[in-house]
Amino acid sequence: MDGPRDDEQLLAAYRAGDVAAFEALLARYEKPIWSYLRRFVRHDEAAEDLLQEVFLRVVRDAQDAAAPGWKGQAKFSTWLFTIARNLCVDRSRREAIRRAASLDAATDEGDAPVSLHDRIPAPERPADAVLAGRQAAARIDRAIAALPDDQREVFLMREVTELPFAEIAVVVGASEPTVKSRMRYALEKLRAALADLAGAGGAGTPESKGAG
């Protein structure tokens, strides 16, 4: 096989019985879908279930002869993210409690103690660059999680995959200008969350103003 096959070719190959083709698709999209799910749902365990469900639907669609399904009229990635997004939306509906903007609890499973870093002033010595980086990452994680749903889903989708705004508009069922507007708001909020850290926002002043 010369050159990498595109998504649609891989799915067609899997439909014809080639598991390796499915594996290749999975390798391409597992991480972006996971990241999207995890960051939207803000609950790793639930996100894991959804991750499986997304790809199980792909499997079913490919192998169920009575449902030849998605025939490449939309891009595979558009279709895949539509599945993921719809699952997220359904879950949001079922969720009784919406997580508040400050999320000390759920999402930081894999992160180092965030709150601790939050109180440490930005380092000025190169050796503490790693620390600064972690601080900024924590900030942005929280800021992403704090975005309203409609902005968060657009932002995540645009950042984890290369879907253009026009395709995202199809996935979320809004117009392209609306999607772009939500993206702008999202970026603004993130930028504001990082404003007092070194290297982000404004003119990039080195001093920090303490915990934001």
Partner: protein, 347 residues
């Protein structure tokens, strides 16, 4: 200057994400080169974005999910040692065909006999002229002509004294009562009651027997197709508060909505649903050949599977490609429904 800044800021998003056309991009680049404020703004957005991407890139999917997915992907293949899947599909289809075959052939058989019998009795001269021996002599007036769905006149006179039109003479006695449903039965009865010598040879009881099933089978088929042609959405009320994929209550559609997502349990789906699905596919894809799904059937299926975005794309394409199709109003309705459904979740 201010206008340029405003325009530049408005375009910054597309610029950052590479969606700005070349001419506009050149303008923005030119402005940014000479404007410190816009330059700072652009730098801030880009670094924010870079930080976000770095953080997102660190997300690692859990290994056990990957393993489970691959297991499922392998298990779903037909060649895999999964007794349920390979057997269920063919058997489901065979069973479906069985369901279709019986009434279909019964109907076809009955119609064939009916036509044969009616032909014989309506055009006895021709039949006789073909050289069949030992039959009733070709006396038009005496022929056991049969009624053909015309108002039965209670002709009291026997066929001999009755000078009917060649093909539509009314049979006395039993015919009027049985006319509506069982014309073949009347035909069958008539020769017997008339006591014509030839009649028993050409009007065996069988036409009477299959006639009711024929009528019943025919009605069943018609009823089903009428049902399929009736657009039944009910999508909006179904959408309220339903978690997961909504399934419209329409009979034909719900069959597919149930059948499609539950692929693994397809064989166990109730008889009616399986029975409806091919009919629905057939009625909505009249010109699909060789089992390929037509665009209309595909759009409808996506809709019943609650795949709003894809269904919207499909309906839009139908509307664009075939704007004079009589189903356009239905497609428009469904498109609107898809768009509404796709929009509603964020509340």
């Amino acid at each position: 200057m201010a206008a340029d800044c405003e325009q530049t800021r408005a375009r910054m998003l597309e610029l950052i994400y590479g969606e700005l056309p070349p001419a506009a991009r050149a303008e923005v680049d030119a402005h940014v080169a000479g404007c410190a404020a816009c330059r700072a703004e652009l730098a801030a957005l880009q670094s924010t974005r870079a930080l976000a991407r770095r953080s997102l890139a660190a997300d690692e999917p859990p290994a056990r999910a990957r393993a489970a997915i691959l297991r499922a992907a392998t298990a779903a293949l037909p060649a895999a040692p999964r007794p349920a899947a390979p057997a269920s599909k063919p058997s489901a289809w065979a069973w479906l065909r069985g369901k279709w075959t019986l009434p279909t052939f019964a109907t076809v058989g009955a119609v064939a006999v009916f036509l044969l019998a009616s032909r014989i009795f309506l055009e006895p001269e021709k039949t006789y002229q073909r050289g069949r021996e030992g039959l009733v002599p070709p006396e038009p007036a005496a022929q056991p002509v049969v009624p053909k769905a015309e108002p039965a006149e209670p002709a009291g006179a026997g066929p001999a004294g009755f000078a009917p039109e060649p093909s539509f003479a009314v049979k006395p006695a039993a015919a009027p009562a049985r006319r509506r449903h069982a014309a073949p039965a009347a035909r069958a009865d008539q020769p017997q009651s008339e006591g014509e010598q030839a009649a028993p040879q050409f009007a065996p009881p069988p036409p009477a027997a299959p006639a009711p099933p024929a009528a019943a089978g025919g009605d069943l088929l018609e009823r089903r197709f009428d049902q399929d042609r009736t657009p039944a959405f009910g999508m909006t009320e179904d959408r309220q508060g339903s978690a997961g994929a909504a399934t419209p209550p329409a009979a034909a559609s719900s069959a597919k909505a149930h059948a499609a997502p539950r692929a693994m349990k397809k064989a166990e789906a109730p008889a009616v649903e399986q029975f409806e699905a091919p009919a629905a596919a057939a009625s909505t894809a009249p010109r699909a050949a060789g089992g390929r799904e037509s665009p209309v059937a595909r759009a409808d299926r996506l809709f019943t599977q609650a795949r709003w975005a894809e269904a919207a794309i499909a309906y839009r394409e139908l509307l664009r490609d075939d704007p004079r199709n009589p189903e356009v109003p239905r497609w428009r309705q469904r498109l609107a429904a898809c768009e509404a459904a796709a929009r509603s979740p964020s509340e």
